[in-house]
Symmetry: C2
Subunit: 306 residues, 2 copies
């Protein structure tokens, strides 16, 4: 078998209070990658999505991730990759991670699964470095492992899969591009110890809440006193959006990754639908396009579809 | 029934990476408090332990906690309290929290349990404020609830009981006094964001490890890049002690609260005994007294014994 098609899920990093350490995968949206192993060395990339992304391997997140993987195998083979990207770049929904994760999972499949998931995360982080300037794994890990993941540590890499109760996830993606590298620049390099303590209380609460299936605790813990106050100023009507969604019953939520998408978790489908309506009402008058996803947590990660 | 005797457990705050948010109770050592309800207003306190602690209610941690509780009940009663303190003040083992927690749990018992555990934590925090200048609950909460507790938030108070696998706890208490208020002063008010991220990864790992009964993850996560590097300089031969204990099989450990006691967690009794021997070997030549406790996590908290 020399060809495989994979679906690559969108992911939401941070999960409000867990900057750089938490992330989860979504059922929708997802990219598709068709990967073919060839006897011709090197990589060729073709995008069939119209986003105008670079097709030179060294400038393409899936390309550099695959090059990183190829450094660890025998010489003399190559890959042809066709990427159908449906997660818009710059959405905050892990668009680059989806490509990077998809490429390495697909290649590993064609190579007889010689690499562990941890290896694959390391390879795909090369893609994240290209996209954002920083090797972070909070989108890559859930894209590869599925579900909700904790990055306890990057060096050495230590990924923990977390349990959690069922959620409905409502995501609004305003069609304005925000680059992760820009969103990182507005962060301060130092934080107050008292804010850090509040943050780690919330992280503890969120993880305990997930493991205990305690929806209320999960909701109370999705509070970010460090990153959100700085990043939310880049997102139109963020405070009103968040407050209104929680008023109609959402457990909580916040900025997806570095934004501009905003997600909300709900216990029931009915509430998730109310959240969708609230998001639409608030964003409709603003005069730019947006898309709302009604989805769930994806526990499979990148999947072989063909 | 107008009289009750309670045992009040020692507690270990922080659990290495969870500064101000995590704590757990120990089987040993423990204080004892005999509390009598009287028809004479006010509080009288007698210490029978020889530590020379103040017996004026307003200057005694058990006294101020009880006064705080009495602000919330009808007038016209009083209490006589006899405290047999066996947890040495300034040990880092929650000596003040034991007295504060014991006093309010005993009083609540005599009043027909009109207050919730959360109420009692709030009252007892008045004692912690007197002892350390700060209202913190990371010793009080496990002393009252038992087991391992997370303080998600102080304002509003949000305490989460955490599950965890069985542990053996070895604690060395060098007989040098270190005041919590001094140990707090050496802390910086700002921390690097990258250190905070590493810390919250570890907190997440520790809590996930506890809930999953994953000893290795618990061990890996007991790393503190913020507080320990500053506070450990006050503790003789700390780095050598920690390294040697882990070499003989301890899962991990660190400073108990603000020190000077140091604790280590082990999975097996045999390892805990090796840890005890290592601690003794390292501290014996240093020329000051120390005491080593071999104990376990106490899941009951303050207990009625009579």
């Amino acid at each position: 078998m020399d060809e495989v098609k994979v679906s690559c899920p969108a992911t939401i990093a941070n999960m409000v209070c867990g900057f750089d350490i938490l992330g989860f995968a979504l059922e929708e949206p997802k990219d598709y990658i068709l990967l073919k192993k060839t006897s011709k060395r090197g990589i060729s990339i073709k995008h069939i999505d119209g986003y105008g992304l670079p097709e030179t391997p060294e400038q393409n997140v899936a390309g550099v991730s695959l090059l990183e993987l190829m450094d660890h195998i025998y010489d003399g083979i190559g890959f042809e990759m066709v990427i159908d990207k449906r997660i818009k770049p710059g959405s905050g929904l892990g668009s680059s991670a989806a490509s990077a994760a998809g490429a390495v999972v697909a290649a590993n499949h064609l190579l007889g699964n010689v690499f562990s998931n941890n290896d694959l995360v390391k390879f795909a982080m090369a893609g994240e470095k290209l996209a954002s300037g920083v090797k972070h794994a909070d989108n890559i890990s859930p894209a590869i492992f599925g579900g909700i993941t904790l990055i306890r540590s990057i060096y050495p890499l230590d990924i923990v899969s977390l349990d959690g109760p069922p959620f409905y996830v409502t995501v609004i993606h305003p069609q304005i591009e925000l680059k992760t590298s820009d969103a990182r620049q507005i962060l301060r390099k130092e934080v107050k110890l008292k804010d850090a303590i509040r943050q780690w209380g919330n992280i503890g609460g969120l993880i305990a809440g997930l493991m205990k299936y305690d929806y209320d605790l999960i909701g109370r813990s999705m509070e970010d006193v460090i990153i959100e106050p700085m990043r939310s100023i880049l997102i139109p009507r963020f405070d009103e959006l968040k407050k209104s969604c929680i008023e109609v019953g959402a457990l909580g939520g916040g900025i997806a990754g570095s934004g501009p998408s905003v997600f909300m978790l709900s216990k029931d489908e009915e509430v998730a639908e109310k959240v969708r309506r609230v998001m639409k009402e608030i964003y409709s008058p603003l005069g730019f396009d947006f898309h709302i996803y009604m989805t769930k947590v994806n526990y499979k990660g990148v999947e072989i579809v063909d």
